[in-house]
């Protein structure tokens, strides 16, 4: 019996918890999409897709589980199987392979002990290079087991035994990978700063730069700093797509793919830049153009925005909403990013007009949310100061208020002068009382004699 995954207890739970569950079919093909990734990222992405899209859940979990079984992360395997069991209990992969689990656990334990033992031996021998490598092996081992906190600790211990800038750079790169896996974005940024400061030879540095800017972009995006994220992504050299592994990590496959750079960079730019900036910094950037060619619809959306075809731009983006919701980094931020783009489109759309009917606005932009009318959305934008306009509910118009600079300057001057006058009066009162030696005193608060000099009064003036 095949159960519809959407009705499975797993997705019911998810919906009850208010998590995002994507009903629509995405545009991408799972096989080819996931073939872009390697290593733990691949499993994590598969799990994200599996847990968000009922249509792809079965395939995604199957792939994830079979890959997890090749690795050392027993916890990840058991989690995946448990989740999959709730979706498709009859699937052969949905039952836990206890024998494998037991064996793997023992293997892992033995390997951990062996590595720790080796490290102790190296420490006794006091050979710097061996200690460094011992710690490095241990870090890799923990990372493979999914214990990133322990891995970070092991890699950090390498620091004392690093002898060349190259080694320090490698160590920091590994820290970055592990922090990204933990979603510790501030720590990612700190490690990146340290990485930039390492004095490498120019040719090595040039290999490192694309990695640094791509990781900066990712961490800025995940901390909600979209403008910096956009700039970091745009500055990522196109050599990122084809580069050799750096620090033993194939970044474009194990962390963030070139397609991701294009999508993230394009969306962040749309959310944070104005039309001119988009035209010159994004479309006009010969380097970033290479990335955009991987995702032509992002380029189309940006071009449409620059050509003031906002509704078409939003339509394109809306078409890819499902795809982006199935991206593990975009998922939680997509509504914010789309919201920003939409708000900006409305503001930009309104700029050349002095008056637009609300119907026209509604037909151009639809309603972002089924429950809210375009009026409410506009009213909210006006009251938060994003849009300088007034709504005429009677004739259904959005009106740009007349500006009268001269009048405004005059009224501002008057208001300021009044405020100044009042402040001056307050100061005068205080000055007079201090001068007369009057103040309320703690002890004799009932009489406060008229001619007692105020202590330290002048210093307080």
């Amino acid at each position: 019996m095949v159960v519809d995954p959407e009705q499975s207890p797993f997705f019911k739970d998810r919906r009850a918890q208010g998590c995002i569950v994507v009903r629509e079919l995405p545009k991408f093909d799972l096989e080819s999409y996931i073939s872009n990734y390697d290593g733990p990222t691949r499993i994590l992405r598969l799990r994200h897709i599996g847990s968000h899209s009922p249509y792809l859940a079965v395939d995604a979990y199957r792939m994830a589980i079979s890959q997890a079984k090749e690795g050392k992360n027993v916890q990840l395997y058991t989690d995946l199987v448990e989740q999959f069991n709730q979706i498709a209990p009859d699937d052969p992969l949905a039952t836990k392979d206890d024998a494998w689990v037991e064996k793997k656990k023992q293997d892992v334990k033995a390997e951990g002990e062996r590595l720790n033992h080796e490290l102790r031996a190296y420490k006794n021998n006091l050979i710097q290079e061996s200690i460094r490598m011992g710690n490095e092996d241990l870090g890799h081992f923990y990372a493979a087991c999914g214990d990133h906190a322990e891995a970070v600790r092991a890699f950090n211990r390498m620091r004392d035994n690093c002898t060349s800038p190259k080694q320090i750079a490698d160590m920091n790169l590994r820290l970055v990978v592990n922090y990204i896996a933990q979603s510790a974005w501030m720590a990612v940024q700190t490690s990146l700063i340290k990485l930039e400061a390492v004095g490498l030879r120019p040719e090595e540095k040039s290999k490192l730069d694309p990695v640094i800017s791509a990781c900066y972009g990712l961490s800025y995006m995940c901390t909600g700093n979209y403008l910096d994220a956009a700039n970091s992504f745009i500055n990522t050299s196109s050599s990122f797509m084809t580069m050799e592994p750096v620090g033993g990590v194939q970044w474009q496959r194990e962390v963030i793919s070139a397609n991701d750079v294009a999508v993230y960079g394009g969306l962040c730019a749309l959310a944070s830049m104005d039309r001119n900036e988009l035209q010159t910094n994004v479309l006009g950037d010969s380097n970033f153009r290479n990335f955009l060619e991987l995702e032509p619809h992002i380029r189309r959306a940006i071009t449409l925005f620059c050509n003031s075809k906002y509704s078409a731009c939003l339509e394109v983006l809306e078409g890819y909403r499902t795809d982006y919701l199935l991206d593990m980094y975009l998922c939680d931020r997509l509504s914010v990013i789309y919201g920003k783009i939409r708000t900006k489109s409305i503001v930009q759309y309104f700029v050349p007009f002095s008056c637009v009917t609300l119907e026209e606005m509604a037909s151009k932009f639809g309603t972002g949310d089924e429950n809210a009318s375009i009026e409410d959305e506009l009213a909210k934008m006006i009251s938060t100061g994003l849009l300088n306009a007034r709504i005429d509910l009677v004739d259904g118009l959005l009106i740009s208020p007349p500006t009268n600079l001269r009048h405004d300057v005059h009224s501002n001057a008057l208001a300021m002068a009044e405020k100044y006058e009042h402040t001056l009066q307050l100061r005068l009162t205080r000055l007079n009382l201090l001068n007369a030696g009057m103040s309320i005193k703690p002890d004799k608060s009932k009489e406060g004699g008229p001619f007692t000099p105020g202590e330290g009064g002048y210093a307080a003036l």
Binding site: D392, L414, N432
Partner: protein, 507 residues
């Protein structure tokens, strides 16, 4: 024999007439004051209640000093106030003479009889209260204040007494002209040494009343900081009575910025802070930061006992939640009643709605009023129209009510004027310019008064000592060039310091 007094009055009338300079006038006035002080009280009373009465024979506008002494003597020797005869009471003969005196006295001569003047004013107030008609004293005291000082900017106890009477009788409008003349000096004093150096007799033509109503001149009475606090709080009440909330808020801030040493606070401050919270809500919709130069420690103490009001202000800020505000107002009813703020607290309900309406103008240019009542059901649409009209009339919103000709089904529509040059609140550029010019003049005058207050501070012994100490400190911290900015602050300090040094040499 009253003849003695009359003779004195006449001889000095001639002498005053002969004076061709203010300085000579000053010395003549001093001599007269000395002569008058040496007379016994009874000598003024001779012939009282007859045609030979000094008070009837003399003209208060000419013989002001003599008349003040005579009135003073009459009041002082009158039977105790509670048994005072009818002639002292409002409407009585003496009362009329006193009023005539207060309204017509010579302003320059008044400067020499401060003690008598303040005593007479006190007497008027207490008599009016005694007779059960405190309002009778308002008019005479008002003219007394104006007669002495057309600007009424130097604080005297008569100010307090006047505002007390106004608030007592709920005659708030009468208090307004005095309240509007902000206080620019309180007990002004400069050291004798400085005073003798620069020539400043009371009889001179002064720009500021602070030059002749001084700590020692007797006009002000025994001014205490509590009196000043009370004056500002009562003034706040008066403005509240007139529903001028912004003015009231500005006024109450004076109490907040007064010096409170070592974090001491008193009841006046607590009351002021509570009123300030409520008024800020009504004026701005939110509670702004406290004015600068409030004493942090004192405010901490005050805030600790004003939690209920802070909660109320918080509820007010959260517009669209009328129910919470109403519930809080009801729950704290006893507290507000006890503090005498019940009326003001109730005003918040209206205020919240008013701010809600006036903020609509930031978002909308026209709304059917049925829509407003659907958002906030405080008022039904038919009541709302009347309410909005009232707001428009009172100038809270720049809008008009109309019925849309194209869409009559919308009903009555509130249409805001987006251009500030249209609508009932419109101001033409000319009006604005006029307002700016007036403001400039006011500020300039204020700056002058600040300067003279600054000057008075600059010549105080304590201040001079402070500057000397600072100089020593500056000299001690190595030979870096002296910070001149510090001295620009007090240009006079240098001069005063010289005087101080001379003083030391003389010793």
């Amino acid at each position: 024999m009253s003849g003695e007094v009359l003779q004195l009055a006449q001889s000095y009338q001639l002498e005053f007439a002969k004076c061709d300079s203010n300085q000579k006038y000053h010395y003549a006035a001093l001599r007269l004051a000395q002569r008058l002080a040496s007379l016994t009280l009874t000598s003024f009373k001779k012939g009282a209640e007859t045609a030979q009465d000094v008070l009837l024979m003399l003209d208060p506008s000419v013989h002001t000093m003599v008349y003040a002494y005579a009135l003073f003597a009459r009041i002082a020797t009158a039977p105790s106030t509670s048994t005072a005869s009818d002639s002292f009471r409002p409407g009585g003969n003496i009362w009329k003479l006193i009023c005539h005196f207060l309204e017509n006295a010579d302003p320059v001569q008044l400067r020499y009889v401060g003690e008598q003047w303040s005593h007479i004013v006190d007497f008027v107030a207490s008599m009016a209260r005694l007779a059960g008609t405190p309002e009778a004293a308002i008019e005479p005291i008002l003219s007394a204040l104006y007669r002495l000082d057309p600007n009424t900017g130097t604080f005297t106890m008569a100010h307090l007494c006047f505002v007390q009477l106004c608030v007592e009788t709920r005659n708030y409008a009468a208090a307004e002209p005095i309240l509007a003349n902000y206080i620019h000096a309180v007990n002004p004093s400069i050291p004798d040494l400085v005073e003798s150096l620069e020539y400043s007799a009371p009889a001179e033509d002064h720009d500021s009343s602070a030059e002749y109503i001084k700590a020692g001149s007797g006009h002000a009475g025994k001014v205490t900081i509590q009196a000043v606090q009370e004056y500002y709080l009562l003034g706040t009440t008066a403005y509240l009575g007139l529903r001028k909330f912004k003015k009231a808020r500005d006024f109450v801030e004076h109490v907040l910025v007064m010096p409170y040493s070592n974090g001491a606070a008193n009841g006046f401050l607590i009351e002021a802070y509570k009123k300030w919270l409520l008024l800020s809500c009504l004026v701005d919709g939110v509670v702004p930061p406290l004015p600068r130069s409030t004493n942090n420690a004192a405010m901490r103490a005050v805030k600790a006992v004003s939690k209920a009001y802070e909660a109320l202000a918080d509820a007010f800020k959260n517009r669209g939640n009328v129910r919470k505000l109403r519930a809080m107002i009801n729950a704290g009813r006893d507290t507000w009643l006890e503090d005498g703020n019940y009326g003001l607290v109730n005003e918040l309900l209206d205020g919240q709605y008013r701010i809600f309406i006036s903020q609509l103008s930031q978002t909308y240019s026209a709304i059917p009023i049925s829509k407003i009542s659907s958002w906030d059901a405080t008022l039904e649409s038919d009541e709302l129209a009347g309410y909005l009209e009232k707001l428009i009339r009172e100038g809270y919103i720049n809008a008009k009510l109309e019925t849309s000709s194209s869409k009559p089904e919308m009903g009555v529509v509130l249409r805001f004027f987006m251009d500030a040059r249209e609508g009932p609140q419109a101001k033409s550029e000319k009006q604005q310019q006029q307002a700016l010019v007036e403001q400039t003049q006011r500020t300039q005058k204020l700056a002058q008064q600040v300067q003279s207050a600054h000057y008075r501070v600059g010549v105080q012994d304590e201040y001079v000592e402070y500057v000397v100490r600072q100089n020593k400190k500056a000299a001690a911290t190595a030979g870096d060039p002296m910070d001149l900015g510090q001295y620009e602050d007090v240009e006079v300090a240098g001069a005063a310091m010289d005087a101080h040094d001379e003083d030391l040499m003389g010793d």
